[in-house]
Symmetry: D2
């Protein structure tokens, strides 16, 4: 029997570990995703780039035609909103586990950002649809969620602030207050991804509605702000290295006395923290799996480059020089180990929800982006200067992944949290060591020896 | 339902990945192994050390009483020869897969060398029993295999030579030639583990029987040499970082005109290479899993140390200083990823035999020992000078694991082989890239754009 | 006595090592450079950026006003062409050693590219002026060198080719042939830095003039090509991580039947290799010292960030979290060691010329860029997303330095060359070991012992 | 002119940096040290090992004959007590700076412990002689210092305690109290180097004489305890990995009501901290320079090994495989950078005393041992199993150096201190940044632009 087509994108060894955990539907869907990637997404990538104007104004007003076409095709094929799990969103979702969607995310990682977007699975829309599906009022769902699910509009999640260290969300300063039937928003945000896109119609804005509440986790609320509401001022796109990531962008925004109806409050006053907590876990796994796909795709490029006869120097293939083969072996091993780590974290989420899998998610979060950056860096090096330029995907991929060492909290935060969770194992180990000591003394005694130390 | 007791020794996330692949027998056996480890092996470790004389002669003549006792207990409990798979050795083996025995090996890695020895699962006996079970004549099996399986005797595998680079086995110089009904062996070996043990009764000696054979893989043969045959001269034990590893030891041996009956030839003339090839794969997985157990045990010690109130400095627990928490988080992540790598390699062996899992085995072989050394080194550092001494297991564990970066070929060999195997993927990728280019051009054409580059 | 102002930019420990090796003129000049950096260059950096249009066409046609102003000021102060050593270019140069100019380069590394440009010390003009000063005919010097020395025009060095692995310069394919009194050039180059600048008036083009010459180091020649010669077609700027580095740029260029007079040949037919060899050594030291300055400037930013009270999270300064202090200590140590390495390499050049200092230059070349990238990456991480954006110098600096791991040959080439040079020490060591053995045997004999082994 | 013979042991590049800072006497002495190393010390190393009995009791009662002979020769040649600087100890010392002695220490690092011992420059005697020379009473000097200076006796420094975290010296618990004309000492120490040597006649014991003193730096005192005083109980030697380092050893000792005359108090009551502070700085530099010598010697061995024709595998020299050449290049670069770091730290001590060079000493302390361990590890790997055994110096050297990551405080302590010192630069940088901002605004204004951000 021919191996499942996804094996070429993941690895035999990983596939063997998880194959029996995947549903028939998941396997069928995976096969379709692979085919769609190869037949449609990858061939469209450079066209998408060519359809984006260089002009510094027009590139923010453009809906890329080939992406629109891809979306229509994907929708028709049922490759749509696959990120949304039926388990958690029975009304809207598809019957895929986190583990199953994780493998899809890895496959999509072989493409650039148009991969997820084609299938309506791109951040920040994914998280926003989850929020609206779980916490939105029927009215909010009708107005915002349905068009998002249909891929007709896009959205932004407006949390990070310019003037505070917002990786500690308690530092958030944006003010959200009620005035009669309206909510008034004032604040200065930045790095708001997607806010530059002409299709983006709403921002979910996190701010402080009750800054003096004694419970500092009840001070925040989330409000839906229409992108075209008066007072929403997009200052500029933030660049990542030299990339502006148009048309989505990562914008600096001032909310200057923006007024929205009271019905735009999500879930209720003081529920902001609760909402963002629920938003994080699985999204991290998706990012990690896409990163692994990106690393794998980069290693694939490297393999082609170092065996390219036109790139021989001093009479030898590149792979015959120095440490190239070793770098390849290490990259393979790095990817392999990281993939299994993330898959096992996804499985833990399926078993215990994100809350029960925080250690595994945390490990994935700090291990994978660094691993992928290393693998891509080795690939770039094998391409010479071309590897740093617009002529391969490598440099843009590297820059995109570099943000993941900061997004949702810098590495250091996740490392500390994982370490602290490990430390909680200490008391149990001490108790066990004491028991062992007692048994040990009995054996010493039995042999008439004296245990010293 | 209480979690399986092995979860404490491996991790929840790893266990979830493999649980459904383990037989009922395997799970029961694993539970027994954990109990035996905690009740018998670990409490005996320091006694075993105390029962070994300091005297530089007597320590090589000693059979450690508590180990003998452990062996009797393990045999009674059926925790015996678990390494020997029924799948490959139907007559002698147990119904455990490589994956299943891998988990057992990890648990045993929490103990020192007495762990595997107690259960008659210690190298080099394991590999030798496999050789004799697969290739031994009925007479050889009766005389040598049965007592080995019974744990009555021990054995050595005599391959590495002092004067040549024997990681390339074709360099072997020991001469094996027939004289009438006898075989005469002359050679200079070293690092022959187990040869110092008073219980060791046979050496499997690899040498050249047909040095001019055009097929350089048919030049070698393996012969059984009784340890007390005239001409077997044990020169000295080789030390590893000051450790002599008595009573087993790693000996330098001269075979000086040693004569054995023709019936001591294993499998046939020129079959040496074939035999050693079959001997390697699964053994590497066992080593790797034990290394992971050793790393985990070291991290467990570190967790206890850094939370020990008597070790506070400058008013703080050790874990409150510097990079300790980060080191712990990294160790946890390192172990977790490596464990999944090795388990997936074991599963590949179960599916495709060792020959079909060479890439996965190779990755495990170069990743795991370095990982374990790093984790143990962090733990040593947390213990201060005590961590380098005889007062914790850490230093001896580190030294033992350091040899694994060389045993069965240095890291570099495995890295090169994995890299070369990866390179074989290049032509397929090139072909796929060409197909992609064609599809891409079609999309460019469709939109009236010109693909340059 | 107040310490020399440069101590703030290098380190006390490094300064103490070299102070007595610097001339009075060098020390005075260094003090002036520091003052010019602080009073003029650094305050102009953001203005220079603001004066560069966003428009994708106009940014390549712009001469940045504030840079022109800086150049005038520097020239007046005598901070001009300091890279050009009187020792090698008595007619044009200044009395600075490589060591002395190295320290100046480090100081300039605290600024972006406008630093060196202000003082007419920026690549590729520096190397080109050296070539013309050493090898140019009087006519060539009058026409091209003098305006370059005056900072009136700029230049490009056209070597790297798109379709071959040109890190092995023997692979170069551009054709240079004589037709009557003219030279005809045909070739496809890329990554030609400076070629985008409207002030650039000449390209030094390396090509093959005698491809069948048996001595493959005599096949190449270098020709001066006026930037506006018919047939010089600038295809596009190559980007580095999204940066186009306008207005200089790194251009893809086709030379399509470009014709220049015979007098534009530099030095003579077949002298191309000789010329590029002489061009490399000291330039690498300048790059390395600027990289160290860039690393130091990044660490300085990090120190400010992690002590910034507005960036506290969870009630603590950034430096109180996790591994920040350790990262700072390592960065400091990394910079310190690298700086001494490069200074000592510069001193070797001063003593033995570049040819006699190849090992030291090679070490600097592969150690420093990686070191600087690591230090800058740590600094970026401390700034959160801002560190990756246009709001600090860090991301652009990182991208610029990333190219240094490839420019003038990838790291791997330099690592191999240094390693090969080290290997040449082996025979001498073997001889010495044999002598030692003889002496050792005598001592053994004296004490009546037998040396075995 | 022939280069100075030490250039072969350090490097040309390093030598060029410091040569002009060395006195004529220092250069002459260095040449003599090199000759003594090559003619006497290195040839005696294996004999010294052979003269040490295996017997676990006798090895602690042995004075190794060849070492005694070496000492006599060195004394005659004036290569004696070179560590003791005339600058600080005018009565006893030699006219060498820290920088100068640093180079000698590097040369000695090519030998094992017999190197320094031959020239009466081995720890802990060096530090103890410094203490007695600086703080000892005339009576103490006559009784203990003179025989130490003459190399007639040896000594121990008894500080580390078993039951507390003594890297924070304030945790010390050993009690030192006056009873009439006597001092009574009670405490439990370990890792007391040299205490096993039959020639060791005194311990300098640090303990608490005034545990309730409000100034916690005045609670400690140091007392001279004769090694044969009643109540001095040597419990056992601590091993480092498997090495016991006989005959010196690192002993666990109980001081059980040991009584010494009041005149054995050093310097005065409560002066313990002051004494140990003065003892540390330069000693760390010596350790570091010896470590660099050890690393260099290991790289030298590696170079011989990888070019050894008898070690070819698969038809190639070891250096033709994989990453060997790269490892060699990196080792060379690592050593080179570290050497310059330590030399520059030594120079800072010469200029500002240890107290003014704490940052540089701290950097050396955490950088060098790790660097040397890495270099030695690469060398070990090139030797295969032999590299881990008693047949090369590598394993013992590695184990010895591993202790340096803990001795005088673990790496983490030094890293934190260096980082904290770096942080002190932040306020100055902030001030400078503010000045820059003002100047920058002026430039913006001049060009009619608005500085935002």
């Amino acid at each position: 029997m021919a191996p499942h087509p996804v094996v070429e994108y993941t690895s035999e060894a990983s596939w063997a570990m998880i194959e029996d955990k995947l549903s028939h539907y998941a396997k069928e869907t995976l096969a379709k995703v692979v085919k769609f990637l190869e037949d449609e997404i990858l061939p469209a990538a450079k066209v998408a780039h060519a359809q984006l104007p260089d002009d510094p104004v027009k590139r923010w007003q453009t809906v890329i035609p080939v992406v629109t076409e891809l979306k229509a095709k994907a929708k028709k094929l049922g490759l749509w909103n696959l990120f949304l799990s039926k388990a958690h969103y029975p009304e809207f979702g598809v019957p895929l586990t986190n583990l199953e969607y994780g493998v899809i995310a890895e496959v999509l990682g072989h493409a650039g950002p148009i991969g997820p977007e084609s299938m309506n699975c791109s951040a920040p829309d994914t998280g926003n649809m989850e929020v609206l599906a779980r916490y939105g009022s029927p009215e909010q769902q009708k107005k915002w969620l349905i068009p998002l699910l249909n891929g007709e509009i896009r959205s932004a999640f407006s949390m990070t602030e310019k003037h505070v260290a917002s990786s500690d969300a308690k530092n958030i300063r944006t003010s959200i207050r009620q005035e009669g039937n309206e909510i008034v928003i004032n604040g200065h945000k930045w790095w708001i991804s997607g806010a530059g896109d002409p299709r983006t119609k709403l921002h979910l804005v996190l701010g402080k509605s009750d800054p003096n509440n004694k419970n500092e986790y009840n001070q925040q609320s989330i409000v839906i702000v229409p992108a075209d509401a008066p007072g929403v001022k997009i200052i500029r796109p933030m660049k990542v290295f030299g990339y502006d990531d148009a048309p989505e962008g990562h914008c600096e925004i001032i909310y200057d006395n923006v007024r929205v109806p009271l019905s735009n409050l999500v879930l209720g006053w003081g529920k902001g923290f609760e909402i963002i907590q629920g938003r994080l876990g699985p999204g991290r796994i998706h990012h990690c799996m896409r990163s692994i796909g990106a690393a794998q795709a980069s290693l694939n490029l490297m393999l082609q480059r170092v065996t390219d006869p036109t790139r021989k120097t001093f009479g030898k293939y590149l792979y015959e020089h120095g440490t190239v083969v070793a770098d390849i072996a290490k990259s393979r091993a790095d990817i392999e180990g990281a993939r299994l780590l993330v898959l096992s974290a996804a499985l833990q989420i399926d078993k215990y929800k994100a809350k029960g899998a925080m250690k595994e998610i945390g490990i994935a979060k700090f291990v994978v982006p660094s691993m992928a950056l290393t693998v891509i860096d080795r690939a770039m090096q094998s391409f010479g200067a071309a590897g740093l330029s617009q002529d391969t995907e490598l440099a843009a991929r590297w820059a995109g992944l570099r943000t993941l060492r900061l997004a949702d909290g810098p590495d250091a935060v996740h490392i500390q949290q994982v370490g602290q969770r490990e430390l909680k194992r200490a008391p149990g180990l001490v108790k066990k060591a004491q028991e062992l000591k007692r048994k040990e003394e009995a054996v010493f005694a039995k042999y008439g020896l004296k245990a010293h130390l």
